[in-house]
Structure formats: structure tokens, C-alpha cells
């Protein structure tokens, strides 16, 4: 196994990396572009683009901001309302996994920003079924969240005829350098289907869909009418409305730590008082207790790294953590089996043994091997230094 010479990502990263001659990963090299970019010019570009979408006669919202209520949501909404003077419609997909503080933050948004906020809350019964199906099918109980977050706001864009959608950062650009910051990449159905939804669409989750996949044993009785909110709009509707999704991270020099401090100080954003089991950060993923928990534990099971690697890599790139400090975080957190597992097991009605058994079917053989005692083992970046 190879690791980036600068941050902590392994070559087995879920977001595919490329490495340069010095062994530095594409995520680091894309982040290094930040120093070379004329951000004033980028802010001007954004201003010019949004002007063309501003409701001319004031009869409609100017844009949609998909929000989870988190730090990025607060900053996006601050930027669009206070800096650019737009009238956004906030849209939330509510996956029923909010931490209490995350729920408070979500409710905070319409208080502090003088905005309308639409919260879409799917049936809990459907959610439980999707949790079970997707955990067994792809080792990701949170597929519903990825699909919902990236479909419902786009549906609202089409139905309300609001073409402009403002996302936060492009996650994979930032983590792994899937695109360059010069590409000004925008939302595409293909990117969402392939990377956010793992290539599985809503119609894979019905009994019929699972049968087609050769996994009829996972059927939960779901039909098309249970899955409306996971349906990305048709290509013709996208073209008719002219839906265009921009990533704010391409137009401002994104710094999650600074932005979080800003929204805490100015807009009543709250971080978690309790720390997570799998990362040292208290400001991320408050909208979904499993995102930093068992969902992320599955990433460790699959690829051999977890959220502490993500967060420490970000902080190393931002220059607020050394690589050595980062490695300590990885040692401390990446392998931890988190406590939210027990909420989830009860929520979906599963035994821990079954959970572990299914987990093992997703271990990447390039990462994991069994030792003489029959335990799972992998290379670690600190092994060489023993």
C-alpha cells in the first residue's frame, strides 16, 4: 500500500487518486492551486453568473440552496443572501439521522437568514427499508441520503422553475482531486449517479429492481411510489428549465475551519459538544450521526481508512496540522467501531453478528488479509517506522 507523501490518503482511497513523481496525490495538488488562483476574479465571475439567474420581476426565488443545516449550509446561505443579495429557497432532504444539535442548526437557518426553508422528510418506513437494502447491497446504509440530497433539490428546481442551484464544495474535487479548481466543474447527472449514488438508481431498490440485480433476497416490498424523492429529474426537464448547479468552492477560497468560526460567531451555528467516536472534528456531519459513524466505519472496512484520515488530510492541506499529528489522529480513530451502531441496529432491527458478517463481504482484498489467528490485518502508514 502506498500513501500520499503530503497528506494521509492511501492509494486505496474511495475517491480515485493519481500521484505525481514526488508521490503527492491529486487531492493535494488540486488544493495547492488555491494559492495561485485570483479569488477576487472568481468572486466576480460568480456575481456575473448569478445576475443572469436573478428573478427579473421578483416573481420567483433566485436560486435553490440544498442545505443539511451544517456549517457549509450556513456559509453558503450567508454568502448568497448577505454577499450577493439573492432570495434563495433552502431545500433539505431529512434522512431521519440528525443529531440533536444538527436539528437545532437546521431550524436555526430560517431564523438567522430571513429565508424560506423547505424540508423534505421521507417516510421512516421507507428509510428503514432503504437502510437495510443498501447496507447489504453496497455496504452503505446511507445511500438514501446520497440519493436524496442530490435529487430532491433538483426536483424542486424543476417543479418551481428555479434553474440555479448553489452547492458548497465539490467533495471529490477537494478530497481526491477528481477535477481541477480551474475546471469550474458543475453539477451533472452522471457525476451524481456514478459517484454519489454508486451507479445505483432509485429503480434498483424496488422488488423488481433487486430481482434484476440478481439480489431478490434483499426485497423489502418497495415500489416506485415509495421512492419519488430519490428520482433525479429527466434530462429533458433539466434542459427545459435550464437547471444549472454551481459549486461555491470553485468561486471562493474554501476554508472550512475559518468559515465555521464565522458562522458560529455571527449566525448562531453550534458544533457538537460531544465528540464523535471516529474523528476529532466536532463541526462536520451533524446532520447524520451515521455519516461519521457506521457509514464511515464501512469505509474503513472497505478501503482501510476513515473519517480521521479525511479530516486530518484536509487540515494538513490547510496547514493547521502536521503530518505527524495527523498520523496520531488516524491511529486513534480510523479503526474504532462506533457507538451509533447500536442505534442503527435497533432502528433497522438487525443483530450485530449479521452486521459484521455483511461488513466482511465488502473488504477490499487489496487492503485486507487474514493473519495466522484468523484476524483481519492491513498495512499501516506507520509500519515502516517501527
Amino acid at each position: 500500500m502506498k500513501w500520499c507523501a503530503k497528506c494521509l490518503y492511501p492509494e486505496s482511497s474511495a475517491v480515485k487518486l493519481s500521484f505525481d513523481e514526488k508521490g503527492v496525490c491529486s487531492g493535494c495538488s488540486v488544493n495547492e492551486q488555491k494559492a495561485e488562483i485570483d479569488w477576487d476574479k472568481r468572486a466576480e465571475m460568480l456575481k456575473e453568473i448569478v445576475e443572469t439567474y436573478r428573478s427579473k420581476d421578483g416573481s420567483n426565488y433566485d436560486c435553490i440552496i440544498p442545505v443539511s443545516g451544517g456549517k457549509d449550509s450556513h456559509y453558503q446561505t450567508y454568502y448568497m443572501t448577505k454577499k450577493l443579495g439573492l432570495k434563495p429557497l433552502l431545500v433539505t432532504y431529512h434522512g431521519n439521522n440528525y443529531l440533536e444539535v444538527g436539528e437545532e442548526n437546521l431550524k436555526n437557518m430560517r431564523n438567522v437568514f430571513d429565508v424560506d426553508h423547505m424540508i423534505f422528510s421521507p417516510s421512516v418506513e421507507v428509510l428503514k427499508k432503504l437502510n437495510r437494502i443498501c447496507f447489504k447491497l453496497m455496504g452503505d446504509m446511507n445511500w438514501h441520503a446520497h440519493a436524496g440530497i442530490f435529487s430532491t433539490p433538483v426536483q424542486v428546481a424543476v417543479k418551481f422553475n428555479i434553474p440555479l442551484i448553489i452547492w458548497g464544495e465539490h467533495g471529490r474535487l477537494d478530497l481526491g482531486g477528481q477535477y481541477s479548481l480551474n475546471d469550474l466543474v458543475e453539477m451533472t447527472a452522471r457525476d451524481i449517479l456514478e459517484h454519489c449514488k454508486r451507479g445505483y438508481d432509485w429503480d434498483s431498490m424496488t422488488d423488481e429492481g433487486l430481482k434484476k440485480l440478481g439480489r431478490p433476497e434483499l426485497s423489502e416490498g418497495l415500489t416506485a411510489r415509495d421512492l419519488f424523492c430519490y428520482k433525479y429529474p429527466d434530462m429533458r426537464d433539466i434542459a427545459r428549465v435550464g437547471v444549472r448547479g454551481l459549486y461555491l468552492g470553485n468561486y471562493i477560497s474554501w476554508d472550512a475551519n475559518k468559515q465555521t468560526k464565522f458562522v458560529i460567531d455571527n449566525y448562531n451555528f453550534k458544533i457538537s459538544e460531544q465528540s464523535f467516536d471516529r474523528t476529532y472534528r466536532k463541526m462536520s456531519n451533524l446532520d447524520d450521526m451515521h455519516e461519521n459513524g457506521i457509514h464511515d466505519y464501512l469505509k474503513y472496512i472497505k478501503f482501510g481508512y476513515g473519517r480521521a484520515t479525511d479530516h486530518a488530510s484536509k487540515d494538513i492541506r490547510l496547514g493547521i496540522m502536521t503530518r505527524e499529528e495527523g498520523i496520531e489522529m488516524v491511529k486513534k480513530y480510523d479503526h474504532v467501531k462506533p457507538r451509533d451502531l447500536y442505534r442503527w441496529l435497533e432502528y433497522v432491527g438487525m443483530k450485530e453478528e449479521e452486521f459484521d458478517r455483511v461488513c466482511d463481504t465488502f473488504r477490499d482484498p487489496k487492503v485486507w488479509r487474514k493473519n495466522d489467528k484468523g484476524e483481519w490485518e492491513k498495512d499501516n502508514m506507520w509500519d515502516d517506522k517501527k
Binding site: 480515485k16 487518486l17 493519481s18 505525481d20 491529486s26 495538488s29 488540486v30 453496497m138 455496504g139 452503505d140 481526491g176 482531486g177 477528481q178 477535477y179 481541477s180 480551474n182 475546471d183 469550474l184 466543474v185 458543475e186 453539477m187 451533472t188 447527472a189 452522471r190 457525476d191 449517479l193 456514478e194 459517484h195 454508486r198 451507479g199 445505483y200 434498483s204 440485480l213 434530462m235 433539466i238 434542459a239 437547471v243 444549472r244 448547479g245 472497505k302 463481504t361 465488502f362 477490499d364 487489496k366
Partner: protein, 263 residues
């Protein structure tokens, strides 16, 4: 006048679709098959598939995704893609012999693109044209600008200067039986700054076969420039098509609105 063609050029490195910057940095965009499905739906005229893998590493199998990422060989990718593609496909990368040409054509490619093998021995073009017809032989040329303003043919993924003049080389390729020239500027690749117009103009004026411009598109106006100022028969876009929704449709629309006769 033949209609001008808009081509999507997809680069496959170690089995993954990549964005290329200056022939030296690569960003992994995703799965090739997913891309082709979308480009097909968006009305591009042709797709050029180039395998630029260095390490022959196709080990990217994952069991937590639902798209075919288990294809171990470039020919398998071509076979898979050609079944669902509505538009002609050109396959290139690593073609060394007539057998390789036959392999890609029988896998479903409509044309093949040949680069290094032609530089080493132009016979492959002459023989290939006899055997398979010149319409399916594309000679791919990677060109680098020299201090005197002329361009040299580069080989080994744009790294090694052959010392050959691009214009002279293109003429030779045409004589040998090439059906088209796929002309990429190593300097402009991934720059988003537009085609190297003097380069493509010099080749277009020297040969009678169609020239495809490649390398540097960052704005749809660059496509219009390639055709109007460079005089090419077809314009190819690599990276830029991955960045926005319905990109090829928007590009085509822009070309039409600016007086280009397209399909």
C-alpha cells in the same frame, strides 16, 4: 461541404477515465462506460477512445458500486461500449501491429488511431490501409512547439522529441494511406486556453485528408476558432466535456449559433 464534426475524446489511464493536463498530470474523472452512455445521449458525432495507461494496471474492481468496472482490457472496454454506442468509435493506444488493428476493429471500433507504431514504421499504415481500408486509419500526432515556431512530432506520451517536423510528418502519413490526422498540441493540452491555431492551420494546408483538432478547449468559442481559423474538419474535446451538464449539446448549439454547419 461536409458537415463539421464534434468529437469527444476520452482518455483511459489504467482503466479509468482521466482528465489530462499537459500530458503529465492526470485527474481521475471516473468510469468510461458511464461517460459514454451520457455522451451518446447528448448527441456528440464521434467518440475517440485512447488508452494511455502506463502501468497496465487495471486493478480497480469494487463490489460496492453498480457499473461495470471489471473490464480488464482495453479491447473489452471497446467491445462493451460499441454495443451501446450510436456513434462511430475510434480506438487507439498501444497499437503495434496489424493484428492489434484487427483486434480493435473486431471488438467494434469503427476506426483505429495509431501513433508511435507509425513513427517507428510507416509500413503499418500502408499495410493497414490495404488490409482494412484507409477510412478506418487515423494517424494520431502529438505536436510540440519549438522556439522557432515550428512544431515537432513527440512520442512516448508527448515526452520524447522525434525531431520530425509535424507538417512533413503529416504529409508522409497521408501518402502512406492515413484516412485522417488526429492532431494534439502537447503545449495546449489541459490548458483550457484554446487550440494551437497556427499548428492546426499548418497541417490543414499541407494535407488533403481531414484533420481533427485536439488539445486546449476551455470555451465553446474555441471550437468555432478551430474550424474557422484553423480550417479543420472536426474538433475534439477531452476534459471540458466532463465539467458541465449536457456539455456536448451546449457545444453543438453554440457552434450552430455561430454559423458552423454541423450535424
Amino acid at each position: 461541404m461536409l458537415k463539421k464534426r464534434l468529437i469527444a475524446c476520452l482518455l483511459l489511464k489504467d482503466g479509468q477515465l482521466v482528465e489530462s493536463i499537459g500530458f503529465s498530470r492526470f485527474l481521475v474523472v471516473g468510469n468510461a462506460i458511464m461517460a459514454v452512455k451520457h455522451f451518446n445521449a447528448w448527441g456528440v458525432d464521434e467518440i475517440i477512445f485512447l488508452d494511455i495507461n502506463r502501468e497496465k494496471n487495471y486493478d480497480f474492481e469494487r463490489n460496492d458500486v453498480y457499473y461495470d468496472n471489471t473490464l480488464k482490457e482495453f479491447a473489452e472496454v471497446i467491445r462493451y461500449v460499441s454495443k451501446s454506442s450510436f456513434v462511430p468509435i475510434t480506438a487507439g493506444g498501444g497499437i503495434r501491429s496489424l493484428d492489434d488493428i484487427r483486434k480493435y476493429l473486431s471488438a467494434g471500433a469503427d476506426k483505429v488511431s495509431i501513433n508511435s507504431a507509425a513513427i517507428e514504421n510507416l509500413q503499418i499504415i500502408t499495410e493497414g490501409a490495404k488490409r482494412f481500408g484507409k477510412q478506418c486509419l487515423v494517424v494520431s500526432v502529438d505536436a510540440k512547439k519549438m522556439p522557432d515556431g515550428t512544431h515537432h512530432v513527440m512520442k512516448n506520451f508527448g515526452k520524447e522529441d522525434t525531431g520530425m517536423n509535424v507538417v512533413e510528418w503529416a504529409k508522409k502519413a497521408e501518402e502512406a494511406g492515413a484516412g485522417e490526422i488526429f492532431l494534439t498540441s502537447v503545449d495546449m493540452d489541459g490548458s483550457l486556453q484554446g487550440y494551437d491555431i497556427p499548428l492546426i492551420k499548418s497541417v490543414v494546408e499541407a494535407v488533403n485528408i481531414p484533420v481533427i483538432a485536439s488539445g486546449g478547449v476551455g470555451d465553446w468559442n474555441h471550437l468555432v476558432e478551430g474550424i474557422e481559423l484553423g480550417g479543420v474538419a472536426a474538433v475534439s474535446v477531452g476534459n471540458k466535456f466532463h465539467f458541465t451538464e449536457h456539455s456536448t449539446m451546449h457545444a453543438k448549439k453554440y457552434m450552430k449559433e455561430h454559423g458552423i454547419d454541423t450535424r
